[in-house]
Homo-oligomer: 134 residues x 2
Amino acid sequence: MDALPTISEAEWEVMGVLWANSPLTANEVVDQLIGRKAWSPKTVKTLLNRLVTKKALAFDTQGNRYLYRPAIQRDQCVRGESRSFLDRVFGGAIGPMLTHFVNQSDLSAEEIETLQKLLAEKGQKKSARKGKNA
Amino acid sequence: MDALPTISEAEWEVMGVLWANSPLTANEVVDQLIGRKAWSPKTVKTLLNRLVTKKALAFDTQGNRYLYRPAIQRDQCVRGESRSFLDRVFGGAIGPMLTHFVNQSDLSAEEIETLQKLLAEKGQKKSARKGKNA
DNA sequence: TGATATTGATTACGAATGTAATATATTACA
DNA sequence: TGTAATATATTACATTCGTAATCAATATCA
């Protein structure tokens, strides 16, 4: 059930580009990263390669070029990373984690409102079907 | 300003023990980890050593034993890790990150309430001193 | 068609990590 | 005081990661 490959920090950057927009050639990925990372194009190619090996990316051939595209969903990776982070730093306790971020961060009025609504909904469901937490 | 050492996953486990309770001898740390990690005592010693080298831990000598204690604050490390996680996975956008967790998680009624109160306070301050976000 | 440019594949290499084992110093028991 | 037990220090070793350079295959231009 958990066959997610491990995505390193640098690799996340590359995945980010392709999750946002794909398929892309290697050079297009390189271009997207200009300004955000001071990487040699060679480095980016290496990362693309590793991600293919890890089966985090797939590609279709177009002449002698590859058109890369994600082979795993961003949302799955986000969940995996989040779980790992939560366990490592907050011992798996999500309440304290959220509290921490709300305290630390400078949320905009809109963000606060969005979250409040979300929580309100959560609270509703909660009391609507007591104990039946899926 | 950012002189925090990098704490690896395994090292977090050890730091966790000492943040919760210190000072402790190496063996006491080993004991605390029994059941949670299937590590050889040697491995724990190695981690303690590395953490001392990284200046994440310090120790006082007691006979031929060391009494280890944290040399950096948990809160600082939490902030560092959180920032790194946020940047990597959510591109630094805290709103979406919180939304994600609230959506994904199964918060207890109490946790929901706590967060709602927190957000309410945040919202208050927000409108009280507009634009003056520190 | 031959030289060149481009693309992906392979190789490189040091630092960090996970996971210990061995060596050395010191203490404590007999 | 000698020897065993224990504690820390040093060394080990395979992987992963960051960061590229070089090699090999192919396409393109002259």
